[in-house]
Amino acid sequence: MTQIIDHGRWVPYRPDQLPPTAPPNALFCRRESDGVDWYDYVKEGSNFTADGVKFTAFWQDAYNGFTVGAAVRDPTLLFPSNMLVREIIDYRGGEPQIELGEKLYEPDTHRLRQRPALPPLPGFDFEGLEAQVAVLEARVALLEDKLERVLR
């Protein structure tokens, strides 16, 4: 059974004072539950397992659920602003981004499932357009005929 660690939900914020090594336009997020900074959380070193797959999940209205965003082993590759962070510590698969990306994640059950296909967008009404064009062309022909008779 897949074992998933819940690292919480992360929200954007701006620290009162930037870390001295942070670029001026650095983005920050912190865990909603305890306010810990994401960069500090990663640098602490013991919050993640070395080989576990860490992934983010963000909400998409189109699916009315969370979609997996990034799925990597190196947590520095993540930035979970407005996202959930989870970790699969016994991942047996291959490339996690390919295998997990775009899957739907259910936080309550930790279930990962394939994202359902959305209903196809309706096609363009080419036939109706053609009929309207034909009517317009007929009207144009009548008008041209009238104009020709007036000019005689």
Binding site: P12, P19, P20, T21, A22, P23, P24, N25, A26, L27, Y39, V42, K43, T56, F58, Q60, D61, A62, Y63, T67, V68, G69, A70, A71, V72, T76, L77, L78, F79, S81, N82, M83, Q97, G101, E102, L118, P119, P120, L121, P122, G123, F124, F126, L129, E130, V133
Partner: protein, 326 residues
């Protein structure tokens, strides 16, 4: 002589013989005998000290007992008095011996240490040539005077000090090196060479390649930064060294996966736009649906979603995700 020379008292008259001889009692005989007694008694030592001994008294191996300790130089001594004196033949002194005069001896017995029993060796001096100390038949060596010791100590110290660097200032004739991992001095919390300036003054060292180039390298007390300058770099010129203390270099950059975003829909219609769905993320791809409009030659295309990535920069503090400037 009332005594016969052997200590025996000799009487002059025998009254029994006179009676037998019909000699009557005569006063002159009695006086003669009494005078003999008196003369004999006067030859004896009066116990109250009136008489003076005229000759040696043979004690016949007998003791004079209850004698008082001597007072005058010619007084006889008692055993108790004599026991307090060191015999000329030798003896043991249990206390300290203080001699205000000279001591002449053929040798002194020394102790083997500050405590314990006396040793069995004798030390003495040989005054022939240098003053030498001997213990029994072993020559320990010459005694050294203060001047000799000081001269020798100075010569010895100079021998070893000569190749050393003088703290008061000196000129190195070679390279100053340390063992691997070793350091010189101890400055602050690290083992290092400390260059200490005056209070609120520069702390600097100089590098000089004679005839080629020279400059100073030092710590500016005003801003805490290191500078090089002066000499070949121009008097009064100081060029700052940039370090991670005053510079936050971007060492690397990358785009990392943020996610694939699907365009919002209302029913079966795509509604609204896709405006930066993740804060700071940039779009790196879009996907569309659509197709040929048929005889009209028109093409209908709908954007269904996009791929978004974060921009990350590597600084000395690690990877940071960055967004818009300002």
């Amino acid at each position: 002589m009332p005594f016969n020379g052997a200590g025996m008292f000799v009487r002059l008259r025998n009254w029994v013989e006179d009676a037998t001889a019909g000699v009557k009692i005569r006063a002159d005989y009695h006086d003669t005998e009494d005078d003999n007694f008196a003369s004999g008694i006067s030859q004896c030592i009066a116990r109250d000290g009136q008489s003076t001994v005229l000759n040696n008294i043979p004690m016949n191996s007998k003791r004079i007992v209850s004698l008082a300790d001597p007072v005058d130089p010619q007084d006889a001594v008692t055993k108790a008095y004599d026991d307090l004196k060191l015999p000329l033949a030798g003896g043991t002194i249990t206390g300290d011996l203080t001699v205000t005069g000279k001591v002449s001896t053929s040798g002194y017995r020394t102790r083997t240490g500050l405590s314990g029993t006396y040793g069995g060796s004798y030390f003495n001096f040989n005054w022939t040539g240098n003053l030498q100390v001997w213990v029994d038949n072993t020559n320990i060596g010459d005694l050294a005077t203060t001047a000799y010791v000081e001269n020798r100590a100075q010569a010895w110290a100079a021998q070893y000090a000569a190749p050393k660097v003088n703290r008061a200032g000196d000129t190195m004739g070679g390279l100053l090196t340390t063992a691997a991992g070793g350091n010189i001095g101890s400055g602050g919390g690290m083992n290092s060479i400390m260059v200490m300036g005056g209070a609120s003054d520069w702390a600097a060292m100089s590098f000089h390649s004679p005839g080629a180039f020279a400059c100073n390298f030092g710590l500016n007390p005003g801003d805490g930064n290191f500078y090089c300058g002066g000499w070949s770099l121009g008097a009064g010129n100081a060029y700052k060294f940039w370090t991670t203390r005053n510079l936050n270099p971007i060492q690397d950059g990358r785009l990392v996966y943020a996610g694939d975003f699907t365009a919002p829909r209302t029913g079966n219609q795509v509604t609204g736009g896709i405006f930066e769905p993740r804060t700071g993320a940039v779009v790196t791809g879009l996907w569309f649906v659509g197709g040929d409009a048929g005889a009209t030659g028109s093409l209908a295309i709908t954007c269904q979603g996009g791929r978004w990535r974060f921009m990350q920069l590597l600084t000395p503090g690690g990877w940071y995700t960055v967004g818009y400037a300002g």
